[in-house]
């Protein structure tokens, strides 16, 4: 065979290729497909040898073709035929932007079939029909089955065009104008002049109508993506308060926000991110309240995102973050529309993305990460109490194991003597030093937590009980850990669970390990060092230019809403750290009917 002739110089054993050729002959299919499967007589082209051929023209002169094979100059070899067919297979498609909608319907449809990879791509439906206007005009619609609501397509596109053209005897200029303004009763439309716009419309779920002899196409709104109904928030549950949450539908999410802020000042700017996914992104803010500079900055950052595909707002968070490696999150992801609207009211901005049930609020401060909406809905004393507990639990979650290590190893004088002797008595039986047993227990708890996140919900609580109790108890009885350590680790875990923000609680877990190491090295000194470095880092983090620790540092006055919460009726001035344009959130005196309040509020109300 010719192949063997080609390979004579290469000392390939003859029997091998013969066997393979025999097998090949059993399957009489396209040669080139099979050859590609078995890779028989390809020489591995190294970079060096590829570089040797400076240009394909030069190579062609020498008898090498594009894929790097030396070719005899005969055109009828199988290999040559293979090459020819490969070249003619499919011409590289031109960019759809350059292709205008032509007046010839068939040409449009053929190009569209080419761009949409029909007929392999079965989701795309092209329905040709005729419109009884101007005689019988040929028309066609193209839509994606599943993306467009077929009821809308049938009822509001096909039906009027096919059946109801004679109801309206008016005429509006050209056929296209008639169809557009009189015959297709959909609530939104757009005109497409080139195929790029057509394609965009189709992939977005709209239906595109082509008419013979029209150099434009009509893109009508028929979006009918599958959506979930509004459900409960999965991560931020409150006892008293609304329980509707964002879900993956863009429209529903925006509707939930609009429902709560029925004002014309609420602006939703649409953007698209991802050149392949073209996901819708909305930037929400209250014009007149939000700081223009912050809006501008956020818009600038969003517009500069050039990725192929964005899955979730978490990715957007990282792409627009001030410092992406920072452990402290610089924007807040929340599922609750009431939180989003509260923040919008104070001058923050929100980002909602199609396909993600989490909205992003920026800029935030570290106090925002520790707040839960329930603090507002209950009375101020209760709200302050729970907030104080939560702030303390942040510290508990970070420092407690480190404290335990530092106290037992470096500062045993701090423990009352009897307790000390009791701990020493139990530790006599444990073979590990305190650090090792702390790390063991912490690691096991992290395992339990991760496992608990993956377990199907039926087994979830069981694993929790099994893991925590039995593991801890059994470890104590086996003298692997000392009993007081189980308490320490349990309290730490509880402390880190009370943090409302998921990203922040992850950071707390990581920081905790750093503190454990620092405490193991230098006791309280190490913990103090860690706290100082943490203070430096947190105060240096900025979220869209707003320092994370505002308004404690650097702004004053307090907004009354940090750790302790003042009563709602005293929130009359806006929190200043976002520097909003509006000055007031409330009138000075809300409870006009209460003489005590009237006395308390000075000035004229």
């Amino acid at each position: 065979m010719n192949k063997n002739q080609d390979r004579k110089e290469n000392n390939k054993p003859k029997n091998k290729s013969k066997i393979l050729q025999f097998i090949k002959n059993l399957f009489v299919v396209n040669d080139y497909v099979f050859d590609e499967l078995f890779d028989i007589d390809r020489v591995k082209m190294s970079k060096k040898s590829a570089g040797r051929e400076k240009s394909s023209a030069e190579a062609e002169d020498k008898g090498f073709n594009e894929s790097g094979f030396r070719q005899p100059k005969r055109a009828f070899t199988v290999a040559a035929l293979r090459e020819k067919r490969f070249k003619e297979q499919k011409p590289a498609p031109r960019k759809p932007e350059d292709v205008p909608v032509s007046e010839n319907l068939e040409e449009n449809l053929m190009k569209l079939r080419h761009f949409f990879r029909l007929p392999q791509n079965r989701d795309i439906v092209i329905r040709e029909f005729s419109v009884p206007l101007n005689g019988l005009t040929k028309a066609a619609i193209i839509y994606i089955d599943g993306a467009a609501d077929t009821k809308l397509v049938d009822g509001f596109v096909l039906q009027p065009l096919m059946l109801l053209t004679n109801i309206n005897k008016e005429y509006a200029g050209t056929l296209f104008e008639t169809v557009k303004s009189l015959l297709v009763p959909t609530n939104q439309f757009a005109e497409a002049n080139n195929l790029q716009e057509v394609i965009e419309g189709v992939v977005n779920g709209d239906t595109v109508i082509f008419l013979e002899k029209s150099a434009q196409a009509l893109v009508v709104e028929t979006k009918g993506w599958p959506v979930r109904s509004v459900g409960d928030p999965k991560t931020e549950k409150v006892i008293q308060g609304p329980s509707d949450a964002f879900n993956e539908s863009f429209r529903q999410n925006l509707a939930l926000v609009r429902k709560r802020l029925r004002t014309n000042a609420l602006v939703t700017e649409y953007l698209k991110v991802g050149w392949r996914s073209r996901t819708d992104l909305a930037l929400l803010y209250l014009d007149g309240v939000a700081n223009k500079k912050i809006v501008y900055e956020m818009r600038r950052r969003l517009k500069s995102i050039k990725v192929a595909y964005v899955t979730d707002t978490g990715i957007i968070q990282q792409l627009v973050a001030d410092s992406p490696y920072s452990l402290i999150p610089t924007s807040l992801a929340t599922e609750r529309p009431d939180r989003v609207t509260a923040f919008l009211n104070e001058g923050h901005i929100a980002i909602i993305m199609d396909g993600s049930p989490f909205a992003i609020v920026a800029p935030i401060t570290i106090w925002g990460l520790l707040h839960s909406p329930e603090d507002y809905y209950l009375n101020p004393v209760v709200g302050s109490f729970t907030r104080v507990i939560r702030t303390l639990s942040f510290f508990i979650g970070v420092i407690t194991p480190a404290f335990y290590i530092a106290i037992t190893n470096y500062h045993p004088e701090m423990i009352p003597t009897d307790l000390l002797l009791a701990i020493a008595a139990t530790r006599e039986l444990v073979p590990f030093p305190v650090i090792i047993e702390t790390l063991l227990m912490e690691f096991s708890f992290e395992l339990i937590r991760e496992a608990g996140a993956r377990i199907p919900s039926i087994l979830g609580p069981t694993i929790g009980i099994v893991g925590a109790l039995i593991l801890g108890q059994a470890a104590v009885q086996a003298n692997i850990v000392s009993p007081i350590l189980v308490i320490v680790v349990a309290i730490t875990a509880l402390g880190s669970f009370t943090i409302p923000n998921v990203a922040f609680s992850f950071s707390v877990r990581i920081i905790r390990f750093v503190f454990i190491f620092l405490a193991a090295i230098l006791g309280f000194f190490g913990i103090a060092f860690g706290l100082m470095v943490l203070a430096f880092i947190i105060t240096g983090t900025k979220s869209l230019g707003v320092p994370m620790l505002a308004p404690v540092a650097p702004f004053r006055p307090r907004s009354g809403d940090l750790v302790l919460r003042r009563p709602f009726f005293s929130f009359d001035s806006m929190p200043k750290y976002v520097e909003p344009q509006a000055k007031h959130m409330q009138v000075k005196l809300i409870r006009k009917w209460d003489p005590v309040s009237r006395n308390r509020v000075k000035g004229d109300w």
Partner: protein, 372 residues
């Protein structure tokens, strides 16, 4: 002069920075030195020292008011020309780095003596230097905000110690009232006034402060608060420990923390106070290093100060090991830095002010300041 845009702090940050700077001296040997020279009237000595320092600050504020918006180096440049600016920058820088070196050594030694006896001092120093470099690198804004955050803890911690150790006070220990006599007190006062020289930091960072008109108020407030804290601590210290013991004890505040005994549970808790120790020490060192780097960079027209940080930090680290023992270190602090350090610290503003009167310069509008 081309200078990289730096962060700004407001006058409240300034106030807190200055308070922390001065109050950090309490943690070291100052109360003991007061008792040594003034016996039961150590606090009166502080009053005298405060008076002299107040005069010095007054001169400084007057100078700053005369040249609003300009910092010290720029004023020196206006009055004395380029060599003046270089001289001022160098003296500032040397003073700052000297303070950093000695403070670093003292804080590290204190840590070792009190809580970590077996650790080599290089490790402890290394951690201090690491925190110091991080803070100074991040800039004045971060330092200011951290001070705002931490100052309540520091002052609260000091007053907690005083409150809990207050069991042991007997006011009789403050008598005889005048201690070693007013003459002796007045003689020692100028040397001791250098406890407050850290306040001249304010003159260096004027260009970083956003509300310039509040600088005098913030400075006086800081001075008043730190003087009050000093005097209160001194009074408590003498009345708890009596003269004879108090002039011998090594770290006064720590000793007071050690004797806290309120029942079976609240005893031996002095280790908690390591936190405020470290915070104060690290902040003071950070500010000293920052001051040195900024002074040198402004004096020599270097647009940013960050590159100077690592060399200065390394210098501080290695030079802090020069004193062979803690006694020498304390003596260097008390004698050379504190007694002779008062001369350039108060002397320079005085000289500049005199020059400005002679040459009739000054006044003018402040530069536009950036909002915070």
């Amino acid at each position: 002069m081309y200078r990289l845009k730096e962060g700004h702090i407001n006058s409240q940050s300034l106030f807190r920075i200055l308070v922390i700077l001065v109050v950090s001296n309490i943690f070291l040997g100052t109360p003991g030195a007061m008792v040594e020279e003034g016996a039961t009237a150590g606090w009166i000595l502080l009053l005298f020292a405060g008076a002299i320092a107040g005069a010095g600050i007054f001169i400084l504020i007057k100078l700053l008011k005369k040249f609003p918006g300009k910092n010290f180096i720029e004023i020196a440049e206006t009055l004395w020309g380029r060599p003046g600016a270089v001289f001022t920058a160098l003296s500032f820088g040397i003073l700052a780095v000297y303070t950093a070196i000695i403070s670093l050594r003292e804080f590290a030694e204190t840590m070792l003596t009190t809580v970590l006896p077996r650790t080599p001092i290089s490790v402890v120093t290394f951690f201090f230097v690491a925190a110091m470099l991080l803070g100074a690198y991040k800039g004045l804004e971060v330092i200011g905000r951290t001070s705002i955050l931490l100052l309540p803890f520091v002052i609260g911690g000091i007053f907690t110690i005083l409150f809990l150790a207050g069991n042991y006070i007997s006011l009789n220990n403050l008598f005889p009232l005048l201690g070693t006599g007013l003459g002796e007190l007045a003689y020692h006062a100028p040397g001791r006034s250098s406890i407050f020289i850290e306040i001249i930091l304010v003159s260096l960072i004027v260009s970083n402060i956003s509300d310039i008109e509040n600088i005098p108020r913030a400075t006086w407030k800081a001075f008043g608060v730190s003087l009050t804290v000093f005097i209160v601590v001194e009074i408590f210290y003498i009345s708890i420990f009596r003269v004879a013991t108090s002039e011998k004890l090594y770290v006064p505040l720590f000793q007071m923390a050690r004797i806290i005994y309120m029942g079976r549970f609240i005893q031996r808790i002095e280790a908690i106070f390591i936190f405020i120790w470290f915070f104060t020490g690290a902040l003071k060192l950070t500010l000293a290093l920052y001051a040195g780097a900024t002074a040198l960079s402004r004096g020599f027209r270097i647009p940013i100060y960050q590159p100077l940080l690592f060399p200065l930090g390394l210098l501080t680290f290695s030079l802090s090991f020069v004193p062979p023992d803690i006694i020498t270190a304390v003596r260097i602090d008390m004698l050379y830095l504190r007694e002779y350090g008062a001369i350039p610290a108060w002397g320079l503003p005085l000289a500049l002010l005199a020059t400005s009167f002679i040459r009739k310069k000054g006044g003018g509008r402040p530069e536009k300041s950036q909002p915070d």
